[in-house]
């Protein structure tokens, strides 16, 4: 009888794989995504499809050019997930090329240029989003009010095709600012918060998702549901989301208390924009976040802090992409300084002291 060449232990495995992890994340994103489709109709679906297709094709091409085996790497699902996450952060009626250019940026520049999966310093989807935001500010901030599928406002299929693939603005889209964008402009004009808020979506709308916003960011509730599913499946741990949302809530709470007229409260901050999506799906990206629990707490808190600072005092109403990317840059440093303590050694790496027990070593 012949037996396969002996490898080394362990001879059993937890049964996890990259594709399983990626698959679970996509599963968690599904409800929010489907709701986005419903809310913004066919144009959103077309945009989503083009973004994902571009991501996968770019990945295949890059793998081939790098001389790596294409099939197993494509099947790991990471490119698909990157495209998916990017699509969720785009304005739902953005033209197709926004998604395609974004995917190419994400995969080619954000991932493969660093050496492929696991090597990238920054979250690829966020690299693309930031690059798009800077390069195409107009297209990236043109948000439509929801026009649910099969409703009167919804464009029909032909109109939809024209929105995504045709000339700009063939359909008289009702464009609208996002909550944060609206508040920012109004506050900038010296209007106080209460009046400003009157013109935008209510907290209830934000929670459920009936508001203008990116394709998949609008329903805080459905995203949270997905996040909890990931926690339950142990794909992520609570450390980053809690630290990030906690810090954001604490800061916004503090400033809101100090000056309720000028600073939006914690709920507005938590429920709008990409806060929850960012906390559960983007900041927790395995590749670009720290590897120890303590490091993750620090990382999450840093994200929360930066989100608040950027939203409140910087030029952009949205801060999640910038905040996460800035913290991504700190990850190697955090990992370097917050290593776990080695068993039997103190934090400096010296063997633990013990009362002399008469031993010889």
């Amino acid at each position: 009888m012949t037996i396969k060449p002996p490898l080394s232990a362990p001879y059993t495995h937890a049964g996890t794989s990259i594709s399983r992890t990626m698959g679970l994340v996509m599963l968690a994103l599904l409800p929010a995504t489907l709701f986005g489709f419903y809310l913004f109709g066919w144009p959103a679906i077309f945009l989503f499809a083009s973004t994902l297709l571009a991501a996968v094709l770019t990945e295949a091409l890059a793998l081939r050019l790098a001389g790596k085996p294409v099939r197993p790497f494509l099947l790991d699902g990471s490119a698909l997930l990157t495209g998916w996450l990017l699509a969720l952060t785009l304005p739902p009626w953005a033209p197709w090329w926004i998604g395609v250019v974004g995917s190419i940026l994400a995969i080619a520049v954000g991932k493969q240029m660093f050496g492929g999966i696991g090597q990238n310093l920054f979250n690829p989807a966020m690299v693309a989003r930031v690059a798009l935001l800077i390069s195409f500010p107009l297209e990236m901030t043109l948000f439509t009010t929801p026009a649910p599928l099969f409703s009167d406002q919804a464009p029909d299929l032909l109109q939809s095709l024209a929105i995504t693939f045709g000339n700009p603005a063939p359909y008289d889209a009702v464009s609208s600012a996002t909550v944060l964008g609206h508040l920012k402009t109004e506050l900038g004009r010296g209007v106080n918060l209460e009046q400003a808020a009157a013109g935008s979506a209510s907290l209830w709308q934000l929670t459920w998702g009936q508001a203008a916003g990116s394709l998949g960011e609008t329903s805080a509730l459905l995203i949270l549901l997905g996040g909890l599913f990931l926690l339950y499946k142990r794909v992520i741990s609570w450390h980053i989301p809690l630290a990030m949302l906690g810090t954001l809530a604490a800061l916004s709470g503090l400033f809101h208390l100090l000056n309720p007229d000028h600073y939006a409260g914690p709920l507005t901050h938590l429920l709008s924009g990409a806060a929850i999506l960012g906390a559960f799906f983007i900041a927790t990206d395995l590749v670009t976040s720290p590897s120890t629990r303590r490091g993750q707490l620090l990382f999450g808190a840093g994200c929360g802090l930066l989100v608040y600072i950027i939203r409140t005092w910087a030029g952009y109403p949205e801060g999640v992409a910038f905040a996460v990317m800035l913290m991504n840059g700190c990850t190697p440093l955090i990992d370097h300084f917050l290593k776990p303590r080695i068993y039997g050694r103190d934090r400096r790496g010296e063997p633990l002291n013990y009362a002399d027990n008469g031993g010889n070593n």
Binding site: M1, S8, P10, T12, H13, A14, S291, P340, R345, N357
Partner: protein
């Protein structure tokens, strides 16, 4: 007996929960394995120096006769598992991944199975002085039977150098599939306990903790009942988590104390012995029986009928497989020990040895091997490591050829438990890297040692040559001077002659 559930346990970090698959063999009572036609008994079944054979081809031996003597402080003798004729002392495939040939005594059983009293049984072993207990344990060839195979007597003598207070009996058996310790505790609790008490006497400790994972309630109950009369013995239920059976982690779970790096648990006053070792001690002292057989679990999806067997040492593993009904299908891997830390075996030809606690024939589905992918920095390995290491970084250093870098990150603190590789979604054989690097390091140290030694010898030689040269020169000089003196003298003489 103190109630197990009232014992305060301490948390340790890391660890994993592999599927234990113990149900395959847990209800199989230990059966004695019939003698095979030939036994192949390796001279080295322990860590340390190999034993030196005392028999020759053609010799007739009785069961229990001393076949090979212990060599030096860390070594163990080898005894005949049955009576029969020595067929030779020579090379036979080792119980090891390499299957390389090692010195082995081959014995042809005569079927009589006739004992000889090599060791004298003791009627009142508790009256023996501690040293004497350890000496008899050494004489019986007992080694750590949990797989480490460290000569047990050396560990029983630790009281001479350390202040010890606790003896921990490792009944965790945290490796999946294995049930041999579980069965021993269920079937022979009195005997196991007797061995434990004898070891405690040798060590001079004040308390004994019998640590058994909570997935073995029957073993806990049996040992608890046996220990009822002894107030200083506590049966402790351990949470089921791998690697609970790792000595240092077991001790920390029980006492809250961490063994210092590079140290022994004796540094914090604790000695750990295995259940099967305790039984062997009992057999040696009460009945004068040396270690000539052991209980093994034969299991895995490719085995027709998984079983627990009492196996004469030296039995070819193929014989165990046949006894269990053979293979249902061709196994994907053949493993000695558990699936987490076991050794791969090249074939079933190799013999059972003192350290073998299991033979597993695993199917592809059980092994779940998969294509190795790049590390995605998911940190699962960091979370799983019970030693606080960062496996992904250690592996990166090793892959880049930087052994020193991996040592700085703690390579030598890695206990090789395999938890990291078990959870890695990229199926990177992390613990394989670490074992490889440790081996490389040891080889490098040996090479360095050899180099130093060669250098020292060369230096000594050149010093010697130098000295010889000097001596030669000095001698030459002396001779020259003498010659000159002689010449001068004769010249003088001639002169005086002519002047006369």
């Amino acid at each position: 007996m103190a109630a197990a559930d009232r014992f305060k346990l301490f948390r340790i970090r890391g660890g994993v929960h592999p599927q234990d698959r113990k149900q395959l063999s847990a209800e199989q009572a230990i059966e004695p394995l019939p003698l095979p036609p030939l036994l192949h008994i390796p001279l080295q079944q322990h860590i340390g120096a190999p034993a030196e054979p005392l028999v020759r081809r053609g010799d007739l031996v009785k069961k229990g006769a001393l076949l090979a003597a212990s060599q030096g402080a860390i070594s163990a003798p080898v005894h005949a598992p049955t009576s029969g004729r020595i067929m030779g002392v020579g090379g036979y495939p080792a119980h090891h991944a390499s299957g390389l040939s090692v010195r082995t005594i081959t014995l042809k059983p005569d079927g009589q199975d006739e004992w000889i009293d090599t060791l004298d049984p003791v009627v009142e072993p508790f009256n023996l002085p501690p040293d004497e207990i350890a000496r008899r344990v050494a004489e019986a060839g007992i080694v750590g039977m949990g797989g480490a195979t460290f000569p047990s007597a050396v560990k029983l003598n630790l009281r001479n150098r350390y202040r010890l207070h606790t003896l921990v009996i490792n009944g965790a058996e945290c490796e999946p599939y294995l049930t041999c310790d579980d069965r021993l505790m269920r079937e022979q609790p009195e005997q196991v306990l007797d061995g434990v008490l004898l070891m405690a006497r040798a060590l001079g400790v004040e308390r004994i903790l019998l640590a058994i994972e909570n997935n073995k309630p029957a073993a806990q109950a049996a040992m608890g009942e046996a220990a009822q009369a002894h107030a200083w013995v506590t049966v402790v239920g351990l949470p089921t988590r791998y690697p609970m059976g790792s000595e240092k982690h077991l001790v920390q779970t029980l006492t809250g104390q961490e063994t210092p790096a590079r140290g022994l648990t004796a540094d914090i006053g604790v000695v750990v012995h295995n259940v099967a070792t305790a039984l062997a001690v009992h057999e040696a002292l009460r009945h004068g029986r040396p270690l000539i057989s052991r209980v093994m679990t034969v299991s895995g999806g490719a085995i027709r009928t998984p079983r627990n067997l009492r196996v004469p040492l030296g039995t070819p593993l193929s014989y165990l497989v046949d006894y269990c009904g053979g293979f249902v299908r061709e196994p994907s891997r053949l493993v000695s020990g558990g699936p987490m830390m076991g050794q791969p075996l090249p074939s079933t030809r190799v013999p059972a040895v003192k350290g073998s606690n299991g033979l597993l024939a695993l199917t592809d589905e059980e092994v779940r091997a998969d294509r190795e992918m790049p590390c995605i920095r998911c940190a699962s390995c960091v979370q799983a490591c019970p030693c606080g290491l960062v496996p992904l970084e250690m592996a990166a250093h090793i892959r880049a050829g930087s052994l020193d870098g991996s040592v700085k990150l703690g390579l030598l603190d890695c206990i090789g438990c395999g938890s990291c590789a078990y959870v890695c979604p990229s199926h990177i054989p992390l613990s394989h890297y670490f074992n490889y690097a440790k081996g490389e390091l040891a080889a490098r140290q040996r090479a360095q040692h050899k180099q130093n030694e060669t250098k020292r010898l060369a230096e000594a030689r050149s010093l010697r040559l130098e000295a010889a040269k000097k001596a030669k020169r000095a001698a030459m000089l002396k001779r020259k001077q003498e010659q000159q003196a002689k010449q001068a003298k004769s010249a003088e003489a001639a002169l005086s002659e002519t002047s006369q």
